[in-house]
Structures are given as structure tokens and as C-alpha cells.
Subunit: 278 residues, 4 copies
Amino acid sequence: MISKVNDSVYLDKVLPAENGRRLLINGTQVGAGSFTLIAGPCAVESAIQLEAVAKLLHSLGAHFLRGGAYKPRTSPHSFQGLALEGLKLLRQMGDKYSLNVVTEVIDVESLPQVAEYADVLQVGARNMQNFSLLRALGQCRKPVLLKRGFAATIDEWLGAADYIATGGNDKIILCERGIRTFSQATRNTLDLASAVVARNMTSFPVIADPSHGTGHWELINPMVKASLAAGLDGVMVEIHPQPEKALSDGRQSLTLPHYSTLQYEISELAPAFGKQIN
Amino acid sequence: MISKVNDSVYLDKVLPAENGRRLLINGTQVGAGSFTLIAGPCAVESAIQLEAVAKLLHSLGAHFLRGGAYKPRTSPHSFQGLALEGLKLLRQMGDKYSLNVVTEVIDVESLPQVAEYADVLQVGARNMQNFSLLRALGQCRKPVLLKRGFAATIDEWLGAADYIATGGNDKIILCERGIRTFSQATRNTLDLASAVVARNMTSFPVIADPSHGTGHWELINPMVKASLAAGLDGVMVEIHPQPEKALSDGRQSLTLPHYSTLQYEISELAPAFGKQIN
Amino acid sequence: MISKVNDSVYLDKVLPAENGRRLLINGTQVGAGSFTLIAGPCAVESAIQLEAVAKLLHSLGAHFLRGGAYKPRTSPHSFQGLALEGLKLLRQMGDKYSLNVVTEVIDVESLPQVAEYADVLQVGARNMQNFSLLRALGQCRKPVLLKRGFAATIDEWLGAADYIATGGNDKIILCERGIRTFSQATRNTLDLASAVVARNMTSFPVIADPSHGTGHWELINPMVKASLAAGLDGVMVEIHPQPEKALSDGRQSLTLPHYSTLQYEISELAPAFGKQIN
Amino acid sequence: MISKVNDSVYLDKVLPAENGRRLLINGTQVGAGSFTLIAGPCAVESAIQLEAVAKLLHSLGAHFLRGGAYKPRTSPHSFQGLALEGLKLLRQMGDKYSLNVVTEVIDVESLPQVAEYADVLQVGARNMQNFSLLRALGQCRKPVLLKRGFAATIDEWLGAADYIATGGNDKIILCERGIRTFSQATRNTLDLASAVVARNMTSFPVIADPSHGTGHWELINPMVKASLAAGLDGVMVEIHPQPEKALSDGRQSLTLPHYSTLQYEISELAPAFGKQIN
């Protein structure tokens, strides 16, 4: 018998999804018994770079390729991504290697174009409360991967999801990517417990992004395992054939051999947590 | 071959322990291949309360009983713990049920008394930079469980450990217990990635405290599993026969049946991570 | 003679404005020797409400009326503002009472409409890194009031200003409105020292928003004075004829009598800091 | 008439002082109509250094000399202060130049010694919840300057003051010295609004420490003025004859000429805020 103090306080907000915590993306399941692995470079840089990654993912039996074509950057003078050329490369590699393409959409204007090439539309942390974009995504048929803002409360995160769901699109994946705190040992503080809270309060799959969440490639492997163990529905990680030459985020990118090892380890561990990787 | 960007940045501070990451506490190993479980009430309240907990832990084959006899409280008008009476109860139950006693020492004055009754001396988050206390613990033979301050950087945490180690006592267990952030979904933000960083930078065992780290009993089970998966050396959790009647921290305490389930699950999962519980 | 340690570290980023730290908005100076007072309700609610405010401001000789017509809200189910009707009311009262209208623009789509009615275009904290909006504002001739994101670093804030300036619009006013911290005594933590840093690093006027910065009407008066004393170029405050009936932010709104007193006090104090209110 | 929403929420905790917000320290008033200036080096380093500072303060008509004899440091291998020799130098210069000595007490053990030499006993941020030390200070007749912990809530800060007051010593000065936040533009974030809240909730004088609060000497002058304007009762600032050679905190120390200018400016401004410096 569970005592009164142990009743959940997290019952006041339940956001719906079509079929419980389960999405089907071109036949691949996210949520339910799946632990979803999404991997790829921070930014699409070239056909050679992207193909090296896509080929590896295909050989490992992975289903999702991520990569940024439009990069929101702090300074207007930084590399802003390959734009349409990047989208085309993503689609080409996605088709060639049977991978779902996950890429960021940064504004309403480019949404139709991105939606044409991508399988999953990512909303970045900075845009989590770009309500016009969220409303436009509510009109869209494609699944949305909604990152938590780096200083967003759970209410604000779920409120953002609600903008999309209210618009008519409940194919939403929530993604915790680290919050800003005083701590400087890691780039951000990966807030796994709050991700669990968000998962308890909704029926959306919730994944973590340990690359942005920690900023150090050495911490990705342990934090992916921790995400699995905490009951999350997957992870998104940055990988790069040559992290030391990456145009962005090299410090937090796994090499391809490191990623292969990681995926193997997770595939072995997942069943103990009632999950299968995909 | 690992590329240059992937070299560790965490090599500038290596704090030593006698035999690598391994302590022996009355024959029970902490660190190395062990995943240590420390459980007990926030505060020792009565013989009945404590014996219920100790009996359960003994029946589960556990080795560590925690409980507060001296409670540092925000207000001078709050319950401050049973003091010497609490220490005696802890020792009595520890002896009766073959459990190591872990309890907090809050000042230099009471250190000799606490050291007489306890097997492991806990330094709380508020005292992490009480340098006089740390120096006195350096003169002590008993192992020290050093909690990270709720706004301490890793450098400050390891600096605090260094005060103890420099004094001559390298039997130190580091404990991450959550940091203060803007986020209010949890009482604190459990910073598992930084705990991994601290572990990489020292040869001390590092454990987590998901009770204080989250403040919600529902989050303890997933966060204990996450701590195991992240490679930490153990956890400390608050349990209580009747959380709804606890004098402090009932909200974040597991019931005894919940704890039994948790310990069983961890014992089943640990081998997959190269660990055995103890 | 000033010693070496006292050389400024803040010289690596100097963002330009047309005529030094000085804007002319329909003949009213912002920056230079001016301490600008911008006041009005959080949201435009009705003609009666807005006229009460505008009439008071006019009688006090004030030059700026703020008010929200488009309200970005955490939940899609909250009051979202009067939209076009609100803009028209603002323009009407601005014209009738000779006040410049400051109002928020929340997306690229509505920018042309807002720019038609407003004298100053406000970018809210949530949109500080909505780069598409910033780029569109760079094409605009109207002055922009750019709020700091509630978890934005100074580099990110100035980077956002750079998106506007690089686009060709250097009529920018920066506004510190409080950051998110662990502290819950105030709604946000008004970071006056960082506002001073931003002012030292650019030639834009920098103002503070103590209403959002503290969340408590009692703290507005002291924080407006502190902003003046710290050398900032003005403040924006929320006022309401009946704060207890406000549709949003009543808790942090001054009554009209309180605002009258505040403006009088600031007008008396400003000369001691080399400023005149306007 | 003030509407209901404008009633203060800050009435639930009123901590007392003997004569309202007014202390007399060897004839010098703190609180009431006084704006108290406390200045001196971070650490006492030598007789030459300290005398240069004391001589200046005397010539300016100042009443308080601060300086650290016992320095709590992150690492046990850093300079820990001159200890007793430092206390003696402080007393000597205090007597020679008619200045009250403000210095930190770091533990119960050294309290009697520090109390013998000092006029005001400072509790540092790290020790704010060292309850044994607070209780010992409650037994003391000397005034206590209690710094806010760098991650302490207002409740915790006032709770700490309550430990001292409950012990029988209500001669307490509260000091806000900056909190830890994500923001790295300043060393800490000086939380002036919370200092005002603490002042509204108690009858203790409340001062600010812009040296630790910002970490940059350039920001001290504006933040001292802001503290005056916000209604605080004084400031404590670090000054050094040669900041570039300081053993600690040189970056945040004013030169003596800078301090002279600052004190002059504050003496001119204070009457406009109903205060006189002392």
C-alpha cells in the first residue's frame, strides 16, 4: 500500500498523443518499447562528410539521421549552414541509406521547404517559445522534435508542445538538451530528472540530447546509458567523421568508431530495461 | 585511433586514494566493482522507526544504514535531531543488524562524539566549505562521505576533498546531491554528468543522492538506475516506514516496500554494468 | 595613474550606433543626457484602461506609452492580446496624447502591421534569438527595443543586436529585464551590473525593466532609482489603473498615483547623475 | 488609495533589532540615516599595504577598515591569510587611524581570538549556514556582518540571522555579495532587489558588496551608487594600493585614488536619498 505522501503531484497536466506514447515514423516506432537512436553531425558540411555518417548508420541498422542545414548562430557572422543544399544532401543520403531525416526548422518562412525534405522537424532550444513557428507546425503532418529551451520550466516546455498539439499535430517528441546553471564543468546541465517529470506528465515520447547537454564527447556514453536507465525513449547524439575538423560542436561529437561501440552497448543493455533500440 | 579533439580535458587534477577507487569499510567494499546502496531515514526519530528500517535492510542483505542525529536546519526553531540519543540508536541498530552507520557530523565540537558512534562520517552540502571541519576530518581515521555543496563547482568540491586528503585521510566518498538552478520541477537538479566528471578527475568513489537531488520519491527509482548506468559507485536514498509522518523530507522518502523493489531491480541490473551491489 | 590590472577587459566588442549613444525618436532623445521613462500596461485591454494611462502620462510630460497588443503566452489557452484592435488603440492614444508608442512585435508575419502603428518595436525576451525576426527588423526604419533573453549571456544579447545592426538598422535600445536564477524572492533577478557591462561594450542606450525584473510592484521604485544611479539610460515600467484587475502582470504593475510619485522623484534625482528625464 | 494587489507579501517574517534599523559601533551609527562605507584589502598582506589603506581612509574621514586575516580558500594549497599577525596589524592600524576593524571569523575555535581584535565580526558566504558558528556568535557582544551565501534563498539568509539573534545578539548587519547564476559577464550576480526584500522583512541594516558581487573594479562605482539609490544602508568594497600585485582579488579591487573619488561622489549624492555617509 502506498501512503498518501507518495501520491503523485504530477497529474494536473496530461497532454495527449494519438496512440499513447507511440509514434510511427515511416514504419519505425518511437516510444512504447523502443529506445530511439538519432545520430548525425551538428551541421551538414559536405556530401563526403554526410555520406560517411549515413553509411555507418545504415551498416549499424539505425533508422534516423540528424544534421543541421539551417544553423541558428549567436553571431550573424558565423557559419549559418548550407541551407537548401544541406536539405538536399540530407534527403539524398536518407533515401540512399534508408534513414529518416531529422533536421531543424528555424522559421515559418522556410518551414514548407524543410518539411518537403525532412521526416522529422526539429525545433531548437532558442525557438521553443517561437509561438508563430509552433502554430505553423500544428498545421503540419510531419512529426516534431521539440527541444526544451535552455532556461525553460517544464510548464513552458509542455505549453510549447500544447501550441503544436492544439493546432492539430500531436506527433511530438520532447527532447531535453541541458539547462543553463552556474556549473561550468559541462556546457549545460543535463536535467534527466525533469525529463522524467515531463514524461510522467504527458503521453509524448521524451528523449535526451547528451551532446548539447554536456558539451564533452567523453560524457556522451555514460549519459546515453543514464537516459536509457531513467526510462527515457531515446537519445540524439552528434557524431562526425573528424570531430577535430567540424565546423561546429566538434568538442561534443563522437567519432564514428565511438558511436559504433555506443550503439552496440545500448543494444545489449536495452532489453534489461524493457526496450529494443531502433 | 582517437582524434585530437577527443583528448580528455580532465587530466589536470588527480586526487589520490590509497588503493585506487576502492575503500574497505569494516570489510565491505566501496568503489571498484561495487555499487553501494546506503539507505535510511532523513532523521532518526525513534527506536521503532529506526528498527523497522534496519530490520528491512538486514533482511535485504544491505550493508549501510544512514540516519541524521544532528540535523542542520534553515531555522533555529525547526527540529534539530535527537543528537546523542540518535547516535546511540544508530549504533545499537547498526550492531544488532550488522550495518555500517553513516551519519552527518555538523561541527568540529561534536566530531569526536560522532566518530565514536559512526562508521562513515557525512559532511553535508552546507558544510562542504567548512574548512575547519574538513581539516579535523583529515586527522580522523574514519571514512568521510563528502556531499557537494548545492552551488559548488567541481573545483570547489575537489578542493574540499583535498583539505581532507591533505590532512592525511584519503578515505573519501564523494556524493552528488543536486544543485540549485532556476528549475522548480524538482527540489534540486541532480547533476549526474558533473558527478561523472568528478569521478574522472579523482580516484575516489562517487555516489549520488537522488532523494535530495530530486525531492520527489517517484523520481528516486529512475535516478538510481541512471546513476548505476552512468558508472557511479553507488547511491544514498532516504527511506521511511511512514513517509507521510516523517519529521523531515517525507516527500522524498521511499516506503520500505518501494525500497525493497528498488534494491532487487538494481541487483539484477548491476552485472550488466560490471557491478555487484553491496 | 591607473594600474594595469585596472585596464578594461571589455574592449573586444564595440557595436556601433549612428550618433554615439543617442537616438532621436520623433524628436525625443534617448541616450546621451536623457533618462527615458517608458510606461504603460502589460497588455492593452480596453480604450478606457489605455486612455487613463495615456492621459496621466501626458499630464506628467512623459513621451512614451508602452502596451502589448500581441502577447506571447506560455499556454495557447491564455489571453493572447487584442491584436490589431490593440495596435489601433495604442496609435489613437499615442496621437491624442502626443506619446510615442512602444509595442512588441512577435513574428515576421505581423511586423509590417505593427511597424505601421508603432514608433518603437519591442522584441521580447523569448524572441531575442528569433534570428529571422531580427533580420527582418534590420530591414526596418523604426527603432528596436531589444530585451535580453532571460537566460542570455551578454555575448548572445549583443549578437542578437548585431543581427539587427548588420541588416542596416542601428537604432537599437537594449533592455535588461531580469534573468532566471535559483532565487525565488523575486520573479527574475534584475542583473544591473550586466546591463552596465552591455552599455560599456556598445554605443546603444541600455535601459532596465524592473517590472519583469522583480515581479513585485514594491521593488520597482527602488530598482528604477538604482538603474538611474548605475548609469543606465532609462527604464520601462508597467502601470495600470487597477492592477488588481489586470489581465496579466497585475502583481508587478504600479498604480497611477505610485507612478506619478516615481516620475517626480526621478526627475528630481536625475540631474545629480548628469541626466534629465524625458 | 492603494489597491489590494499592491499589499505587501513580505510581512510574514519580521526579525528584530534593538533600536529599529540602527546600530552604534563605537559611536558610529549604522542604519537609520547613515550610508556606511566599509573599505580595505581582501587580505591583510603587510604593514605597509595596510597602513597605506588605513591612512587614506582616515584622511577621508571614513570609519571602517576591512581586511582578511583568516582567508577561507578553495584549495588548501592557496594563501590562507596572515592569521594572528593579520589581526594584530588590523587592530594596530584601527587604533592608530581611529577606524573600526571588520574582519572575517571562520570557525568557532578562532572566534575568541578574532573577537579580541575586531570591532565587527564578518561571517563569509561559505559559512552562512555554519550553524555552530552562528550560535557562538549569538553568545557574543560584538556586531556581526552576515554575508548571504552565494546560493542562499532569502529565507535561508534570514534563518541564519535568526540563529544569531535567537542566541541573544541582535547586532546584525546583512550583506548581499552576489549570487551564482549562469551569467559569466560578472563573477557573481549582485542581487540588489533581493537585498531590498531582506531589508523590508527585517529591521537589520542591509549593505551590499559590489566587489565580490561583480568581480570587476570598473563595476564597483556604478553598483555602489545603485546600492545607495535602492535604499540600502551601505556598502563594503575592496581597495588595494596596488591591485595588480594583490595576493587575492586584485581584479575586483579599487585603487586608492579611485576609492577617494567614489567616496566623494557618494557623499555628494547621499543627501538626495536622505542619507549621510559615515
